[in-house]
Structures are given as structure tokens and as C-alpha cells.
Assembly symmetry: C2
Homo-oligomer: 219 residues x 2
DNA sequence: GAAAATCTGTTGAATTTTCAACAAACGGAG
DNA sequence: CTCCGTTTGTTGAAAATTCAACAGATTTTC
């Protein structure tokens, strides 16, 4: 467990919890760790929303496959990120999304009811955990807000530029890598892949952006 | 204040708080009530995100105006709904959205820091309030999820049908009113108003839906 | 109750996106 | 290093959306 210390300390859910308390608490919560190879499913759409997930290593994508089989990527979760917590906290009976490993990943799973409801040992962490969960959900809401801002744009070009501007702002730098390949970016922006490639080409030609593979730079 | 009792009791933020405690607590929190006429701004984009709002009567819309002046409607908040809480809880310095009264409305405003941080009187409600806020934010996240599911659809028709199906499911009934006129629905679905009108006409002609003004029925 | 303002449905043209197909570039496995 | 599967960029045709304009219907205001 020690090797996960850094990932866990950076996790918003455990802010303000001392290192020496952390592992006792995780035992009390019944946390366990599972490994997933690339493309393997962590949570499947339709399964009960009992667990929250925390990325200990690697990364996962939150995806939704619609009626026609089109993939939509909702977000990308990297080390220390929490996922599926909204559905678990709202006690939904079934997950409306799937979670898929984007590379070989280690995931911590915690049954959400153990976090929300005071355990029999009445250990003193629950108030802090609930406060942290509240903070985490607030930033998750803001994250989705930004995703809505992107997909609200009417044109391919505006979607791309809105997304890239958000990323640049988040990192405080006009030059950055994105965690998506072309198809995944298209699925995140909810546009056609070939149209995306074409538009990126135009933006480069017009000197608005520079890009090589998944590295982008705003000019 | 008494006349707001019903709206406040139905508010997710005050679940599990007894009637007799409610008004003492609101005083302790420094809650105040303001009235807004139709189309008046409750919160303006860019202003500090210190307050959360609760709709006591009437309704408001959460809107975002983009670079080109296009209005995007994020959601519709009716009696007992809480709004702007995610931004306040995340302690954002400035609001990325505006809140506009949709009809003459009475709004309760509470400074979010009063909810999140224990007050000097150390009254015993904070734990319950924080738990309720967590629950509220979880359902807000799910709400945005649904909005993303709608706007992720590629065609006008699929956006309309996804939205109407969601509404029908929420109400448990295939026949219902929506809180939007045509232009507002277009701004919520992120599509062209005239295209929306045309597509609704087709759906009616094909016998898939029935509609009159803002009343809809799935067949 | 009449006039003014707003909302809705309809049209056709212009623009944009999607779709399908292909070839070049790339990356990993052996 | 070579082969093979995957990713990316490009193209043109088909389909869908947006835009602008207008007229009829509805609602609001005085």
C-alpha cells in the first residue's frame, strides 16, 4: 500500500488527513486495489453505483455509448482523480456511464456507503471525508460545466478552440499535451474525426495554433 | 418568513432540519430574501461567487452568453431549487454564468462561507448542512450529465427526443409541460430555433410526438 | 379592446458537418 | 528490420444545420 502514498495524498478526498491516519482509515473503509489492462472496463454502464474509484496509477476515461453505438467521452481521469462518486453519493441504482482503462492502471475501490454513513467503530474521519467529498463534487460540477461550454459551441472550429483555451488556462501555459488521440478528441468534442483533422489542419495553416500529434500550442 | 416555509422545507439543503430550528438557523446564516422581476439579473457573470441562491417563488434560468452573443441555457431552476452552489463551494473568484429571473421571483441568498465554516455560535447544524450540500451537488452533477447527454447528440431530432425522453422519465409520465418556449428550448438544446420548429413539426406529422405550445406528449 | 411587441412556423439559399473510402505515416511485436 | 495493425490526414458527395426574412398567431400593455 505504501507505494500508493503519493497518489492518495494528492487525492482531494483525503485532504487534511495525516499520513499516519490514512492507511488505518482505508482499512476501516474497506478500500481495495484492482489492476486493469488497457481497454479493460473498470465500471460497466448499468451496474450498480455502489463504489467510488480513485486512480492510483495510469488513467481512465469516462465514456457513454449511445443508442447508435457512438462513443462519447465525458472526461479523462488521471492519477489521484476520483470518479463515479456523484452516482454513488446520489445512491443511483445503476450507472449511466462506463469507465475504461486508458492504459494499464491501478484503481482503488471504496464502497461509498462506508464513506457517507458513520461506521460501527465511529472513527472520527467521516466529517472530514464528507466535507472533502462535497468539495470534490463542487469541482466536478465545474468540470462538467466546462465540458458543456465546449460542446455548446456550434462549429467544429469553435469547439476545438474553446477546448484548447480551457486547457491552456488550466495549465497556465500556451503549450501542452492533451490526453486524447484524434478519435478520442473527436469523441470528447462530439464531432466527426475527419472534420476534426481537417479543421486542425486549417488552424495550423492560418497560424492560430501549432500542433504535433497530441501536443498543442496556442499562438 | 413563514410564507416561505413550504419552499424551504422542500429544499434539499434543509432536509432533516426541523421546522422550529429552520428560521433560527437561517438567521444565524445571515440569509436574506430579494425579489426580482422577469428578466432581471440575480447573479451576473463575472461577479464574485460568494452567495448561493434558493428559489422561494417563481423560477430562474442559468445562462451563459458566449463570445458572439449566443445565449446558452444551462438549466431551469424552480421553487425550492438551489443554484450557484457549486461555484460558491469551490470558492471561485468569479461566476462563469449568469442567473436571470424567468418570471417575478423571490430568491433567498446565503453567503456560502457561513454554511461551510462553523460560525462563532458554533450552532450544531453545519454537519447536516454540509452533508445536504454534498447530496445536492451529487444530484447537480447528475443533472449536468443529462444535459451533456442531450447536447452530445449530433442531430436536431436526436437532441429533441433525448431531452423529451429524459423529461418523461423524470416525471414518470409521457405527457408533460416543459419550462421553455421555442427560443429557450433551442438555447437549451444548443440548436437553431427555426430548425427546432421544423423538426417538431416533422415529429408530429410522423406521429412520434404530440405537442401544443410547451406541452408535449410521447406516443 | 386596440395597438404593439413577442413568439412561432415556414421557406430557400448558403454554409457546415457527416460519411465512406483510401493512402500515408506511425508504432509495436517478433 | 520488417510486417501488420492502428492512427491520421485528405477528398468529394450527401445530408443536415444555420441564417435571414417574413407572415400569421399569440400575448402584453396601456
Amino acid at each position: 500500500m505504501k507505494k500508493y502514498l503519493k497518489a492518495l495524498q494528492n487525492c482531494s478526498l483525503f485532504r487534511g488527513i495525516a499520513e499516519e491516519s490514512l492507511f488505518t482509515m482505508l482499512t476501516c473503509l474497506g478500500a481495495r486495489v484492482e489492476s486493469f489492462d488497457k481497454k479493460y472496463t473498470v465500471f460497466a454502464e448499468g451496474s450498480p453505483a455502489r463504489y467510488i474509484g480513485i486512480v492510483l496509477s495510469g488513467s481512465v476515461q469516462i465514456v457513454q455509448i449511445d443508442y447508435y453505438g457512438n462513443r462519447s467521452i465525458l472526461s479523462h481521469m488521471k492519477e489521484s482523480d476520483v470518479f463515479a462518486e456523484a452516482f454513488a453519493c446520489a445512491e443511483m441504482t445503476s450507472l449511466p456511464i462506463s469507465v475504461v482503462a486508458n492504459e494499464p492502471s491501478e484503481i482503488m475501490l471504496i464502497e461509498c456507503s462506508h464513506i457517507l454513513h458513520t461506521c460501527s467503530n465511529s472513527c472520527g474521519f467521516h466529517q472530514q471525508l464528507i466535507f472533502n467529498m462535497m468539495k470534490d463534487l463542487a469541482s466536478k460540477t465545474i468540470l462538467f460545466h466546462q465540458k458543456i461550454e465546449v460542446v455548446s459551441q456550434r462549429t467544429t472550429r469553435d469547439k476545438i478552440m474553446t477546448y484548447l483555451s480551457q486547457e491552456a488556462k488550466k495549465r497556465g501555459c500556451n503549450s501542452f499535451d492533451i490526453p486524447y488521440d484524434r478519435q478520442a478528441l473527436a469523441d470528447y468534442l462530439e464531432i466527426d474525426r475527419s472534420g476534426l483533422s481537417a479543421e486542425i489542419g486549417k488552424l495550423k495553416k492560418e497560424g492560430i495554433i501549432e500542433s504535433h500529434k497530441n501536443h498543442f500550442e496556442l499562438l
